[in-house]
Symmetry: C2
Subunit: 415 residues, 2 copies
């Protein structure tokens, strides 16, 4: 099965030949509280930065090591392969090499993942998901409400050194699909538009001072430097994957010369964000948005780069039975009050449609996708307000027959 | 789907109407080191008793709580349902109610499990898997090499009080299939035959002094007392499930009067034990053993009780490529040296056959089965000597298409 996948690795001239069918291993090596709140028990920490600062060192270590050994393992790679997928995107933290106390490194986990991937015929996209000072101020950037990384040249250099070490360690592994220099660096426009510090309030005002989005000039320079340090060590047929900074059409004049090859442009699209842009909360509304907004956008950019949708999912307000206001979670105090309690048939109709309409665009107009995420422990039964959030969990989407390559769904279709 | 399952709940007269299609949630609330060695890192503990005695209390707590929150969750119940199963057997420890320091109770986890089971239409068999002083001296009995429980009347009473509290708390839950008073109490004959203290050496010779198997007289008395305290609180249509103590034919004159109803006899059968009894290590050898030993045994006892095989799996030496000498694991220093490296096709042929031949007996002669186990983290790729041990992991057996109700296998058959 490896050869089959390998044969689709393209030259730059034929972007259509790339079609990644993958899933993110979110919340494994980079924590997100909403995906497993128990890890944060007994603390007020909302992000990875503050967790070790509120726990005794040995307790922090015990939680992290137990989590990392249990959350993803060999069996998950076998299961993902059985769903017909070919790749995993693995978010890793900037402290992966264990050189940023009090954090604990995790190269041994990534080493194991490469062995599992190669055993089961999957490819790994290494996604550097956080940076010191944060590149976006999201909780999943590791430091809520702070965005100062790009203003600290020594930390930009540190990230480049992490990328170089990743390329040295994994750049020639059969199981490597590519390396993504930084996840979701937020643009100046989006920093203001999303009102990040209201959504993710900073804990330490002093630390957050001067936070702002990343300029596109900075990102172009950073991506160029990152390309060079990665390519120095990584095999030519592997990819450098750059995130669009939420500005998909800003990259038409970037890395278009022959000097740069096997570069993928990564965009993240969620129906909950479409809703914030006015998308009607009906199946037809979602379909119209996907057809009229995302499809032309991705089709156009596919002229410049292979475009993947590196994060997306089935989550939407219609399926939740309540307007989620852009996916405000229970952690933000939104409890889903007044939600319509959808039955399993309604849920199936809504979420199957959400899967089919989105996958069509990611695959037919773009170069494929990674679902966000393989697994989350969010409990829709025992905790109030989380109804519908199982649509972020590919494990449950497959079990419910919502995802088209789900063996369960295939069986239903065959009868 | 609940109704469908409910309609098969039998009266005592029609044992054939019971057909349990289930899986154990082993290593969740009762630890077994070989199923997730990382939890025991940094200690020499081989069992649940010694683990908290070698770790600082807060580190022990951090490992246990993280493990319990991650190992089994809502998504696992949805996934098990999607495999076409109807029940889970959940091993619980004697300290489930949190009244035996230094252990940490786990009723909140079992409470959640009932909510998940009822949401997804699964039934739970609560299996009390350990007892103070141990009922078998196995590592999975919680205290290797020690078997003194039945000689301590106050601890026998303690176990009865745990059973009574379990029946009070869960006895009328829609999601309850039944309660098993004690897992694998070892008979005197088997204690000697298996040379338990050689296989599971005790840490503390003083504590192990006087260890011996449980007499059948003791077990009959204990089971009768257990039946009475459980039945006092548990709905009539739920089951009391008694393990055969590895003496399947010893129970023909037990609980046969009308006073006792909805009692299931549970036997555990593993091909690795058949090998120890001389079963030839070929597919035909296994088939002969299953047909000529297990089938008549179970068929006969089905005249007295509905008989389930509450533990079994696909594991066998042929599939491992090496004589495992009764499943001696890497933990016991057996490294699988000289193993034939089986390719995926050979593995599929061997393990599919092992599934089909065993399930036929469990279902057609007996009243169904629980596979051992839903999940184990044993890493066949990164740790030497574990090749073939994935055949204990139903998740991997389903992913590989070895298990007949696996949606993956069904798909292959349909094409």
């Amino acid at each position: 099965m490896d050869e089959e996948f390998g044969s689709t690795i393209p030259t730059m001239a034929k972007y259509d030949a790339i079609n990644i069918n993958g899933v993110n291993l979110g919340n494994w090596l980079v924590l997100e509280k909403w995906m497993n709140p128990a890890l944060f028990d007994g603390t007020t920490a909302e992000d990875e930065y503050w967790l070790p600062r509120q726990l005794p060192a040995d307790v922090y270590e015990a939680r992290m090591k137990t989590h990392r050994s249990e959350y993803i393992n060999e069996r998950d790679f076998a299961i993902i392969k059985s769903w017909g997928l070919d790749s995993v995107r693995i978010p890793v933290p900037y402290f992966i090499f264990g050189d940023r106390e009090p954090f604990i490194g995790c190269t041994s986990e990534l080493d194991k993942a490469f062995n599992w991937a190669e055993r089961y015929g999957l490819k790994i996209l290494i996604d550097l998901h956080t940076a010191p000072g944060s590149q976006n101020g999201f909780d999943n950037g590791g430091l809520s409400g702070v965005c100062t990384w790009s203003q600290q040249p020594e930390e930009v250099d540190f990230v480049l050194s992490v990328l170089e070490r990743l390329a040295e360690r994994y750049g020639n592994r059969e199981g490597l699909l590519g390396i993504q220099p930084i996840n979701e660096p937020i643009s100046e426009r989006m920093w203001d538009l999303m009102d990040i510090q209201k959504r993710y309030p900073p804990v330490d005002a002093e630390m957050a001072k001067g936070s702002k989005g990343n300029s596109l000039e900075f990102l172009r320079e950073f991506y160029t430097s990152a390309y060079n340090v990665i390519r120095k060590h990584m095999a030519d047929d592997k990819f450098v994957v750059i995130h669009d900074a939420f500005e998909l059409d800003a990259w038409k004049d970037f890395m278009q010369s022959d000097e740069y090859f096997n570069v993928i442009l990564d965009t993240h699209q969620y129906l909950m964000m479409a809703e914030m842009e006015g998308c009607e909360q009906t199946i037809e509304g979602y379909r119209n948005f996907v057809e009229n907004k995302w499809k032309p956008m991705i089709s156009e950019m596919q002229n410049y780069f292979p475009v993947i949708t590196g994060e997306w999912c089935l989550f939407n307000s219609l399926g939740c039975g309540v307007d989620t206001k852009g996916g405000q979670s229970v952690l933000n105090g939104q409890m889903g009050d007044g939600a319509v309690n959808r039955n399993d048939e309604e849920r199936c109709e809504i979420f199957c449609a959400a899967a089919d309409m989105q996958l069509e665009v990611w695959n037919e107009c773009g170069s494929g996708q990674f679902f966000w995420s393989y697994k989350l422990l969010t409990d829709t039964v025992n905790t109030p307000g989380w109804l519908g959030w199982d649509s972020w969990d590919l494990g449950r989407c497959v079990a419910f027959g919502w995802y088209p390559t789900s063996p369960v769904k295939q069986l239903i279709k065959n009868y």
